[in-house]
């Protein structure tokens, strides 16, 4: 009987020896084999490689809960018959993290393995909004880019997350001494925001921080990806909101409209039928009804068009 653990067998002798050794154990001492696979030190990569044997020898129900959840995840992705198991969200998150942790050193061992890593990552990001997974996913996408391997599904999951932290995590690579890594970071950040960014903004992490701090509050995820375009707009900037906020910041406090009608103001303005005057008058009417003390006869034609400097801001 092989005294080495499955993990040691794989690392020292490779996948083929792992298979032979584990199958021998299953044939000659089933309990021993089950203990081997339920060993706490087993990595997901090793577990993945022996899944065909687990299925062949029908030991799925003898697995510990971690392995059962991992097997269920595998079965969900590849359309196989699933193990019946109940588990809570925290347990599943823990297993999904165990899965993607292995990718940091074993990514690329098998196409189906890589696909499972993508799926586990997407689940953590999209269903569980796990921030740690985002960092792992971004690092993995850079690793795959460096090796010329497929990373589009991973990138799609990352940008679909809607988590604004991804930009800084990606931008950290701008300062890399590795040109390929820095270029990849630059491409992603330029693509991320429908081109509303300059080369200078992405020339360094420090420059980018200035840009992202200004624009992040107005960015929203589109869910687009490389499937539809060579330069998908992963995110867009809400220019109307940004300009409105910029304008609002320039209006003296005493002349600002009451906060509760700000949203109505934006909606009114955006829905105006090409007639800004009509919007202004409607707003004026609303303001008159809300707070007569702050109401004045409308004079401004279009707060967006006429903003050139503080001195030229007119009151609403």
């Amino acid at each position: 009987m092989n005294s080495l653990s499955l993990e040691e067998t794989r690392k020292n002798f490779g996948a083929e020896k792992l298979h032979k050794s584990f199958e021998y154990s299953l044939k000659t001492n089933r309990n021993f084999a089950i203990n081997q696979v339920n060993d706490k030190s087993l990595s997901f990569s090793t577990f993945f490689l022996i899944i065909p044997l687990i299925e062949k020898y029908n030991i799925a129900n003898m697995l510990n809960i971690k392995n059962k959840i991992a097997l269920k995840t595998y079965s969900q992705l590849f359309g196989k018959k699933q193990v019946f198991i109940e588990f809570d969200k925290e347990k599943e998150i823990s297993v999904l993290k165990w899965i993607i942790e292995s990718a940091s050193y074993d990514d690329g061992i098998d196409d189906d393995y890589d696909r499972l890593i993508d799926y586990a990552t997407a689940k953590l990001i999209d269903e569980y909004h796990d921030d740690e997974a985002l960092n792992s996913a971004i690092n993995l996408s850079f690793l795959r880019n460096s090796k010329g391997e497929y990373n589009h599904d991973l990138l799609w999951a990352i940008f679909k997350s809607g988590n604004p932290e991804i930009f800084k995590l990606i931008a950290k690579h701008l300062n890399s001494m590795n040109n390929k890594e820095a270029d990849f970071s630059k491409d992603l950040l330029i693509n991320a925001t429908n081109g509303e960014i300059t080369e200078n903004d992405v020339s360094s992490f420090e420059n980018y921080l200035v840009w992202i701090d200004e624009n992040q509050p107005y960015m929203y995820s589109t869910g687009d990806g490389y499937n539809m375009s060579s330069s998908p707009d992963f995110y867009k900037i809400d220019s109307a909101l940004k300009n409105y906020e910029k304008h609002k910041a320039q209006i003296p406090e005493s002349k600002k409209p009451p906060k509760e009608i700000d949203k109505n103001y934006i909606d009114e303005f955006l829905n105006a039928d090409k007639s800004i005057d009509s919007s202004i008058h409607n707003y004026s009417d609303l303001m008159f009804k809300t707070d007569k003390s702050k109401w004045k006869e409308p004079k401004v034609i279009n707060p967006y068009k006429n903003i050139k400097s503080e001195n030229q801001i007119k009151e609403v």
Binding site: Q76, D114, A122, G148, G225, N227, M228, S230
Partner: protein, 261 residues
Amino acid sequence: MIQLLQQSGDISSILNEYPQESMEFKIIDKMNKSEKKYRFQNKEHLKFEVDLRDEIIKSSVALFKSHMDFAVFRKTRGNPQYWERLGNGGLKLKNGVKASEAISDIFSNGRMYATECATAMVIVYYMAILQVFPQELFDKVFDNITLMNWHYLDRNISEAGMLNEKSDELPGDRRYFKNPDVDLTTPEWQGENVIDLGNGTFYGHGIGIHNSQTIINALNENRKEGSTTSAYLMEYAGNLDYKKLFKILIDYNQEDAEIPA
């Protein structure tokens, strides 16, 4: 409205060159009746775009009939006689192989190939251009091509990778059905690239030739459990840069004319 910048003349004379039931007639008629201004250098430029759009439609149908399989990138297949399979699932033209032969092989031996939907669009474009360019020109211009969705597009067709707001729906346009709530186990169903075939149907590799509702229904079958957010056709269209390709052809013809016999 169609405007010919270097020529005066009446569009109806161009229309009369095509049978009324033809796709070319339909395209010109639609452009001419549009409020948008379609500007062309001359009649030949207009006819080039129209012909190329027609070939895009024909190539779409031909690729559908080739029985090329659908596959996610990690399972891409290609004929190794012509294509080298890359680590990311792309297919790179082998050294010493003519692009015209390699592209044609996909249509002749479709069963040896498997790609996803965006790459299929690129294959359609190359085949269509091969129908309007002399083979020698095609091989010279596209001597180092890689097939992998909208990545690695040859610079002469790079515009095809962009989707832009559209005013009209023209036959030969590339369109995109988006599936916002796609099931995470099938990210390849996040959307479907299609060619507008000009008759109320679209060609999308992996789904086939169908009207928009059928395509939407197919995408909706691949949503997260319990989702009620439907897939939809986006109001954008993608196209080749017809003007750029026309210029390449004109320049080639002029060079050819200048070479003494």
